[in-house]
Point group: D3
Chain length 297, copies 6
């Protein structure tokens, strides 16, 4: 058990970070194992609520891929993927919307409320928060790049953040499902990392915090000692171009780049499997993930 | 085609009602055929948006029974009913929540937004709007009334209307799915008429407007001439007690009674199949449905 | 009698106009027969009050020529006119001020209040609303244009609209008599069309609505089929220059031009003898008068 | 010429009164010779403006008897009086309204504005400020008191002071003509002392200041040494009852009594012929008129 | 060094206390060794600043006995004491005021500001914060209790907390020297524990935190195991009456009783020599001092 | 004794000045004999309070040289001076701080409060109001100018006026002791004239009023008739450069120049020995001191 003086030391270590971040907005992308494992889930929700009580203004964006797959399976529907993106017909996007908005979102809202904060669920249709348009998948075929229509997968065309400001100013925690509304009222499923990035940009957020299932970024994938604590905007762009960032990490780093380019102050890739990783990244001197910062050369 | 003077006459007829209702809150229960038929749907949405533009503050509560049944069927699940209430196991309430919150609610929000107003979807978990507890069905068995546990069907225990005020004050139209949150975070499906009544009471609303599939209330069911335009609170209670109101009309009249008892000013039962019935009830001298008013003897 | 569906159609036709004009300011010049005939009077007042209840912010400017003449006659005083302008000595302007401020203005205020809105009478001296200077009449004499001093007829030198904003923000309808105050405290009688135009410009009003005794503007005076629904700013200027607009219509079209040049959005010349012409011009698709809009070539 | 130290002494004498009255409301009845003589007029206006600049909130109510008589004479109309009240037919009240609202009121507003403050003219119809009903004259006939209908002479039935608060809060000086509006929109001429008293009561004013043509009240009319500086509410009532106050002073003392009974703090009867009597009464230790205070026995 | 999970555990332990105390006011009496030892001083200041950053509203009251004595010695003046209270002539109170206001207060203000918060120094004369009257010492003489005049030692007669609210609402930390102002402008030195208690009562503070040189209260002075974590109001009164609390602890417990009686929620006696005792008392489950709570029997 | 009309004349003379200065900020440097002589003191305090009651917003900066010297003498410490500036070691600045903040400041605050206004004492450390750095004395030695370290004598490096605005907006009179805080928390004694000038500049004050022990500035020191009522900025600079202003008047005129250059509107040098000189300078046509105004050539 910790001594009183050890406890005090932790509190004092938090002091400059509290001073720096009180009143600021932090967008948290909540996904991956941190949404499935019950202990991780509890830890993330506690972190969000503690941030809120201390005076930071959290905005949560969540994903939900595995649960969409599960519902489609219940409907006896198999998904196909193009360039890693699910081909999304009308039935599929309706299932995605039901799961994201009517199941995952309401559950997160409920968990936050039970910890004593007040959350309100949103999706991109509420107050036209996320205006979407069809995303075309890029396929490499015979040496060419072709655009392929994969249905109701969307890009964010515009963010109308007024409803978020209204809720933040009244002390609520907005929890956002990554569904966008098209010009004719149709629904689009959008990658949650990108939604979080666009919202962080629209809010000029102090932080974008992406919870992932990895520790962060390594300069050399095979070398545990090559962990990168701080990555510059320029270097992040170069690493993607050079193929040094691969697979599932690409959209995450792209989201960080997009958020910073759009006006967010800092972006973090954090291991959601480590208990209380949000608090530790924000309130300790060393931090625990990879942060992407403006500038670089 | 109408002459200019006929048009002017309609506008002038509206004058005293606009004067009376501007700035007031009206809770609209949107359900039945008005949610299924596309023409009715368009007409109801236009009415809500016109009310909003004129300066009334609409709050929409919607139902969704048929679509819940349809989804359960897709899951290969048959519903059983006790005293007209669906027996609702965990899987059933999860399906109800997905349909109500993730399909019907988002669609209504989207339709309103496309007419130029700004809607925001809510359910009872958002900011703890509707605190629910298990509803026990009343079954008549061998001359006795027995309470039967039919699962996650809920009663409204408490309304926390702050989030509604926040949205109304910022010019949004709240659209509410009738899902309540229990003490342990579980979901309850609640009758939408009752939800609308409880919210009308909590807001001390000027009006509760229940859209139904009938013209209103008749003193004598077989006699078209016995239509009741205005029914007093006391007489409404007596008609229910005397069994003169039956079947699906009972919960609607009970909802009117509950709303008035809790502080709403007036309640209306309106035929949702008649185009623009909301506007006509509010803004014409004759009105078109049955209104339930305080008092009586 | 209209059917319910016909009534609903009128209301739905109003929808886009309400959406567009709620919260906007409309300056109404009230004069001519609409001030004398009791039915017209009632109709105009109802229109103003309906506009107010719907959420438009009306500002009324009134004239009063015939009543000034009548009072002067009572005093045994004959008016002479130069270029259509009354020669206005000290006694005449005092009579004009008494009639405009102490009779016509108080009557309009009273009529509006009795319809349930709250009006407050103003004249140009209140809070220095209209700073005036002597207007010199232009007389054509022997091929030359000469300026002639015709006494206390004024031009608007400056508008101080603060008092109007104060009243509008508190929900009052300002009713303004066209009397201006000179540098030494003397009173000036000012053409009410011009006063309305200057106020519309100072308020950057959405609309200037001039009630007249004609239907609107015709391209060819003798041809009923040449009625102009929409006239561009540039064409209006050209028609005046070319003499295609004549007589009493000149100051009205000049007022429209002045209002648009000063920042008002649109100006309308409307037949005050047609019942509810204000409502019909604002809230129907076809409108009924001539509107003057920015631009043109 | 005064020495610097004498000037400083005057300022320091003002100190406690400024401290006491800043932010408070003072209702000034402006009438009598102070409205006719140009020097008196200038002095009163300066006093009102100084009060305003120092931070007191003046509300001006004015009379206008002599000018009404003059206009009626121009119309060739002779006035008759019952119990000192002018018999007021429709033509007479119209003339009174024109003179009070369209001549005297606008002149006072203009004079105040030219001293650098901002005045706004009101009459009882503006925003329903003064709701009036017919006043019946009391006539002693054959030992009986009979009520006589003398036309459009009114009593104040209700004060709606909102428009006064709106103007005061925005820094304007309201200047009020004693015309009230009846239930059917008709005009009533009301005694200005009573209007001032009713308004002082409605505003819970700190002071009612009645400018008169006498020095104040004497205990013994013939004895200059019996001047009363301070009179209690109770004694004022007794003196009227005992007939020790007579003639034109009766309505003034009654107005003081009415104001105090309705919630005003203090009432003053001041000689409007003495230059700057308002300032001297308020800001000097001795004062110069008769003050009526609550209490007494 | 602590592991990341140990750090996270401390933060999570803080969660319920932050939730409870954010936005609440805490009055801290800063005195004793915590004012002399530089490490203690740094620790207390950090604690106050962390409380502030987290959202608690701290108000600091300080003492200064030893430094007053030191200055008097510099003046060649020896202090005498009656019943533990310094006999305070005019020169002594002037010295006390100079030291408290011009030395200790400015130093605390400066230390807080250098940690990134914004402090403003006050004493009881500022905005009449502490109205004081002469305190009479109670002396036991020949079996009787006699009141003795010991000069400018004061009691708090009235607290005018407006200036504290003004500063708190603007985000400042008020730092208060225990000097009160008498009716004739004279200065009084007041016991800082009592000042803190009176201010906690006037502010209806959530907490009164008294920093002392002892660990807290023991039920049995000789027995380290008899430490009292929570003491009820009633028991605290009884212990003083029974003489079970003695010496310097008496005024501290009396201050706690006074604060609770006046409306403060809880009072704490804390060891100022233990680093970060303020944080540990507030933000840990066990706490470290003795808290006095309402109620008891 | 003055007649009523003479009193009224004084009040009317004040009118334009009240109109001009209400709501404006005036920084008063209070020093010299006006701080020592009890009659002068009373007069200055009354003037400040009257200004406040009339609606001007006074900010007081005070000096205190003689009392610092007196305390140092009590400590048996002799002061040495370089170029007229006291050599200020740590003990000296501590004494200065105690006297200025803990004696003179609290006394002025107390005197103002007893006149019915509400004063709050500040020094440069409060909310970092005055950030200071070491001032180096300029010594002429062998034809060269050398900078000499004279200890804790400071220059104002930065003014953070937020705390002054907070107090003014809540109706308090800030009273400021000329102590500044250095980067490491050390105290600096700063010339009060310069402090007043810097604060007048930071507040963009309407007036800087320097109370002195002379009547004002003479063009020719020996000639009483050469008194300067108004001095331009440019001429003031030239007179200093030309050596026509000498001795103690130099820092005062430099303070005026600094205040105007920094944005204050006007600066006044006033004889604090003349009773009510502040009022007379502000509220009479002639004024009594020397004013320094922008411009000149």
């Amino acid at each position: 058990m910790l001594s009183m003086q050890e406890k005090a030391a932790v509190m004092i270590e938090m002091l400059p970070y509290i001073q720096k971040f009180v009143g600021k907005t932090a967008v948290i992308k909540y996904g991956g194992n941190a949404m499935i494992n019950n202990d991780f889930k509890r830890s993330v929700i506690q972190d969000i609520v503690l941030m809120k009580f201390i005076g930071i203004r959290p905005v949560v964006v969540h994903g939900g891929g595995p649960e969409i797959t599960a519902l489609l399976k219940q409907f006896g529907k198999e998904s196909t993927f193009v360039s890693g993106l699910r081909v999304t017909d009308a039935e599929t996007v309706a299932a995605a919307e039901m799961v994201l908005v009517g199941k995952i979102n309401t559950e997160i809202v409920s968990l936050i409320n039970r910890q004593g904060a007040k959350a309100v669920g949103l999706n991109g249709k509420d107050a036209n928060l996320l205006v979407a348009a069809k995303h075309l998948a890029q396929v490499h075929e015979e040496g060419l790049i072709k655009s392929v229509d994969i249905g109701f997968v969307g890009d964010v065309v515009k963010v109308n953040p007024d409803i978020i400001w209204t809720l933040l100013d009244q002390g609520y925690i907005p929890v956002i499902a990554p569904i966008g509304g098209g010009a004719d009222g149709e629904s689009y499923n959008i990658n949650a990392d990108y939604v979080a990035a666009e919202i962080a940009a629209a809010l000029q957020a102090e932080k974008l915090l992406l919870l992932t299932d990895v520790e962060g970024i390594y300069r050399d994938c095979g070398d545990k000692d090559s962990f990168i604590s701080t990555l510059s905007f320029t270097e992040a762009q170069r690493m993607i171009k050079d193929g040094r960032i691969e697979g599932g990490m690409v959209p995450k780093v792209e989201a960080c780049i997009r958020a910073l380019a759009g006006g967010a102050v800092k972006a973090h890739i954090i291991d959601g499997r480590q208990p209380h990783s949000l608090l530790l990244e924000i309130f300790t001197d060393s931090g625990i993930g990879t942060e992407v910062v403006k500038g670089g050369q």
